[in-house]
């Protein structure tokens, strides 16, 4: 098992020199006090994660762990190159499947996987989008198993969230431990909103003249990520609109302001495709704006991310991302996929049934970590139950070996102990290419031995440091 701080052997790794020294010097009481202070800060700022249908406190905090996760400059530049490559391929893939479909004709990706995919949006077929970018903001989930072994666990091409935690975790850490930052040489992340705004403006419709008006479209304050929506709007200085604030008139999109209607050029939407426009998608949706898709198709407004981008982040399509990289870029993938078994293939299904005790089986479509089986942690009864579901609906599932995810020292009830972590960097793609702020969101599974880092299932977060080279 690889520990981020102590490697496999137990010696402090160079990148953790400052953190190690600081941890040794910190008294246990001070850790407790600082953690309480961090929680107070988060509550006061109102950084909460709303979970409305589960009872209990409707405005929950995602637990924040005060021990940072550190990547050195070399590790980061390796990751950054791999991320850029991967997201370029994902965008090329989206442009292709909604355009000439060369990759399907070449047989590199099965056609049915795309055309019968629920995330495939027919309205996107043949549409030219600004700069050919579909997934403007991508969150790529990465896990680590060794000093040089990084794997991409999942691509999030629709509306990935969590970037506000990356920014606020850093702000809170700097406030709690200013002395730590003075010595460590940590790359800043706070300019993310600036990069985001510049990227969004860069993909304004070609017809837009003058400075493009950007807005964020939110489902509203009961959405679990509402804090993030308002945080980003505030940091970028743009309006945070709801569907009811938007009107489509004469083929253009406007927002209702105190001075009348104002033209909108770019919409960073944080609502799902199905709710964007009741005329194009779900007729019962009140979250979107009627006519929005019509205006989008006429090139009057840009939607970020593009509708239908989800076809690239499906877990069944994930298997083919290395092939996409080879197909579109003619390069070998820098970041590896986790070996994945596609249960719709009879051979793979048999392998999965035979080795279910060692595998993680999950839905090809689904999120939040509900519909999965972690083989090694499941009881015999749970495994045989799941095997039945698997045989009944093999095409729903994929399986992967249980990776021995890296751990990072984490402050838990009993003191400082290793806990499994992952990493979600945020990759921005616009007309000026790909930009990534050094870092991302590190999620930590707070329960001992657990591999599930989802915030809805007891996961926490850490500040993520990239050290200057």
């Amino acid at each position: 098992m690889f520990d981020e701080m102590r490697g496999a052997g137990g010696d402090l790794r160079a990148s953790y020199a400052h953190v190690g020294e600081w941890l040794d010097a910190l008294k246990p009481d001070a850790l407790v006090a600082k953690r309480a202070e961090a929680e107070r800060l988060f509550r006061r700022i109102g950084i909460t994660f709303a979970v409305y249908d589960e009872g209990g406190d409707p405005e929950r905090l995602i637990p924040f762990d005060i021990i940072p996760r550190v990547l050195d400059g070399e590790e980061w530049s390796f990751l950054a190159r791999g991320l850029e490559q991967r997201v370029k391929a994902l965008n090329a893939f989206l442009k292709d499947v909604y355009g000439p479909r060369e990759i399907l004709r070449a047989g590199a990706v099965p056609e049915a996987l795309i055309t019968q995919n629920p995330a495939f949006e027919a309205i996107m077929v043949g549409l030219e989008v600004p700069a050919g970018v579909y997934t403007h903001i991508a969150g790529i989930d990465i896990v680590r198993t060794g000093p040089r072994e990084f794997y991409v666990l999942e691509d999030n091409c629709r509306t990935p969230s969590g970037v506000s935690y990356m920014l606020e975790n850093r702000a809170v850490m700097m406030r709690l431990f200013p002395e730590l930052f003075a010595k460590a040489g940590v790359e800043p992340v706070s300019y993310y909103p600036e990069l985001l705004l510049r990227m969004l403006q860069s993909v304004a419709p070609p017809r837009c003249s003058g400075e493009p008006t950007v807005v964020i479209l939110t489902p509203g304050q009961y959405n679990s990520a509402y804090y993030e929506h308002s945080f980003l709007a505030d940091e970028m200085g743009v309006e945070l609109v709801e569907g009811a604030d938007l009107v489509v008139q004469d083929g253009a999109v406007f927002m209702r302001t105190t001075g009348g209607l104002k033209r909108v050029d770019v919409i960073y939407r944080r609502i799902d495709d199905a709710f964007l426009d009741p005329l194009a998608f779900r007729p019962d949706s009140t979250l979107g704006a009627p006519g929005l898709i019509g205006a989008y198709r006429q090139g009057a407004v840009t939607l970020c991310n593009a509708p239908g981008a989800g076809v690239a982040d499906d877990k069944a399509v994930y298997v083919h991302v290395p092939a996409m990289i080879r197909f579109y870029l003619g390069e070998e993938p820098i970041l590896n996929n986790v070996p994945t078994y596609d249960c719709s293939r009879p051979d793979d299904l048999q392998y999965v049934l035979d080795n279910i005790a060692e595998l993680v089986v999950k839905e090809a479509r689904g999120s939040g970590g509900y519909g999965m089986l972690v083989g090694p942690h499941a009881t015999k009864a749970q495994r045989s139950d799941f095997a039945k579901k698997l045989k009944a609906h093999p095409h729903v599932y994929i399986a992967q070996p249980t990776l021995s995810l890296s751990t990072c020292p984490t402050f838990v009830e009993k003191g400082v102990a290793p806990r499994h972590i992952d990493l979600r960097p945020f990759v921005l793609s616009g007309a000026d290419g790909v930009r990534i702020v050094p870092g991302g969101l590190t999620r930590v599974a707070l329960r001992e031995g657990s591999l599930v880092v989802n915030s809805s299932q007891g996961g926490g977060t850490k500040d993520t440091w990239v050290l200057r080279k």
């Binding site: 006061r44 109102g46 505030d234 309006e239 945070l240 604030d245 209702r256 302001t257 105190t258």
Partner: protein, 310 residues
Amino acid sequence: MLARAADSMFWLARYMERMDFVGRLLEAAQMMSGVSTEAEEWRSALIAAGCEEAFFAKHETATLETAALYLGCDKDNPSSILNCLEMARLNARAMRTNLTRDMWTAVNDAWLVARRIDSDAFTPARLDDTIEWVKTVSMRFYGAFVGSMLRSEAYYFTRLGCFLERADNTARILDVKYHVLLPDYARIGDAFDYYQWTSILRSVSAVRAYQWVYRGKVSPWNVAELLILRPEMPRSLRRCYDETVECLERLASEHGGRRGECHRLAGALGAQLRFARIGDIFQSGLHEHLTNMIDRTADLGQDIAAFYMR
């Protein structure tokens, strides 16, 4: 700015101001209930808070115990202190991007405390402390918005909400007690009346202000003048309307001089208050004057919403 944002800022301020007003009503009624008949005082407070009917549908009589709970924390009373705070925070949260961090923490901190407040806080033993807390909350919010907001649209909508609500509140408290201000009611040297007038002043924090302006014994005529016509009195109708007109003018100039019915009505009411004489008001009917102000203020709120918030 977004029409919906203007609406949220306006109501955020109204609810904070209303919460403050209900706190002051509780304070004034509590002090008076030692002097006059308790039930009468609490009934007045309930009328002024606009919830007399709903209260008596639930309770037989108004006492310190029942009325303070109802005005303080009853979930069924939309204008209870805790409900006002809840609504204020909902509006604040809906439009966080328009609030400064100071404003947000002022509202959110209060809300975090309020979440742990139980009905105990509105029992006689703890009522004073709770009212003090309510005042601190509203002062902090007021200080935060005046002290930290850019003087742009969002600020003027917030300020507009604050003063329109205050105008309504002052008119209401006066109207509930108008009969004790009428000349045929006043009996010279009657200690009871003296307490009544002082109670009105206290509910708008104007006991000291009265002394500074009139330097003498409290008389109903002067109390009415202070709260209706004096521009230097921060909660008088005149002051509230001066502020309201000013905010609307600023908004008009932000929008290239665009004006509507709300500007006309505010201007007309402002001018009326500016040039009226208290003698004329008493002559033509204090009650009629006050109910007219309450109705016109409600109209103005609707005109503002129609012009800016849709």
